[in-house]
Subunit: 266 residues, 2 copies
Amino acid sequence: MDRAALFSLIRQRQSFLCVGLDPDPERLPASFGGDVLAFNRSVIDATRDYAVAYKPNTAFYEALGLDGMRVLRDTIDYIGTDHFIIADAKRGDIGNTSRYYAKFAFDTLGADAITVAPYMGQDSVGPFLDYPGKWAIVLALTSNAGADDFQHTLQDGSDEPLYEKVMRRVMAWGTPDRLMFVCGATRAEKFTELRRIAPDHFFLVPGIGAQGGDLGAVCRHGMNKGCGLLVNSSRGILYADDPGRAARELQQQMQRALEKFLPEVS
Amino acid sequence: MDRAALFSLIRQRQSFLCVGLDPDPERLPASFGGDVLAFNRSVIDATRDYAVAYKPNTAFYEALGLDGMRVLRDTIDYIGTDHFIIADAKRGDIGNTSRYYAKFAFDTLGADAITVAPYMGQDSVGPFLDYPGKWAIVLALTSNAGADDFQHTLQDGSDEPLYEKVMRRVMAWGTPDRLMFVCGATRAEKFTELRRIAPDHFFLVPGIGAQGGDLGAVCRHGMNKGCGLLVNSSRGILYADDPGRAARELQQQMQRALEKFLPEVS
């Protein structure tokens, strides 16, 4: 799915919602008797009309033990081809090694995209960016408290924090049709600057809901003419009394944002 | 295995060799007929007297498909308890998620340590550091070319590059009995400074052999009174005509380094 196809899906569903499929074994509703695949299927069935993307985080499948990746693959199979699928794995290693991580996420699991950690630089990110027809989503400004430890530090005597340096440098390695950035909704005040740096790229935005990010501010400052946003909700949907209703409410907020900021789209 | 036990093992074997168990499917000797576990067993049998640690990289097991982690678990079982076992996974995510990565590496796979990427800060590293009896090995200065993209940039107008900031900050989160740093042998000229920053910590040192790092320089500048080094070789041993001989030659070089720099040990 390239950028145009993703935007087309957003227009069609009037939504840029990404549902984070992070089934925490300690929070699974008792009615599923520990059957994570059944739980995922119920969430997917309830949300598929309101979402354009799903984002399973690999850690929650490793939590299931040695067969966890089979549950993840079956989950991705169940989603099918009408959604953009992100393996949230935050991988990154020297080139030949990253190539095998890419192969697993894209070929074995069947994801469209994978999240990538930038610390090891170009030869660690390149093998994900160079995979035919697939996407790399590189961590820029994350939504967690620990983002303050390294991401905001100014680089080489400039006024450029590390996350901006990451964005500018990584943008030179790939096109907006294959590259997104993770930009946390808890940093909504930064989105004007983030959008100035990367006017054409999609941002994957975690941090609304449980983490307190403001969807309205993210849309106001972060939307571009191709929408340019995939806003993720995990816990706020998965553990809602009614996941379908929680997803529909987010979709309706997103529809209003599209009407307001991209009137030609709705 | 705590720091004292690891040093005791180094003294006993007169070696600080870590063997990287990275079975590249494209380079597996034909005689194994694609049986990665059999290949690993043969390498382990040939090298176990000369090594103190093994470091399987998870990417090469994901490369085997959905059952790859079973091969990794069986490999770790085969190594047994007389070696320090590092899951080279370069993980890192928000706290609750990192906790499940830790659980998988330590409980499901049975590793003693896991490599961790620092970009997301304290709440992403903490769950690995806080795991009872286990180790986190945090990326500081890596051995690949891409290390130049971000790790060397000076921070906040100081003369402190990012990798030094990472080391200083992460050191405040754990003790030398549970925390190591990845410091690449291709940066041997930096080891005097690295050792000044972290006098007591073990460094996991990739990059000798195929990547061209200098073992002698690493030992001269990097050894501390508890050895403080685990030097890794992957391809140089795995794909040697005689892996046992390749490991023994490295062990002999390491024995000479211990005699030279830690005479009270040998």
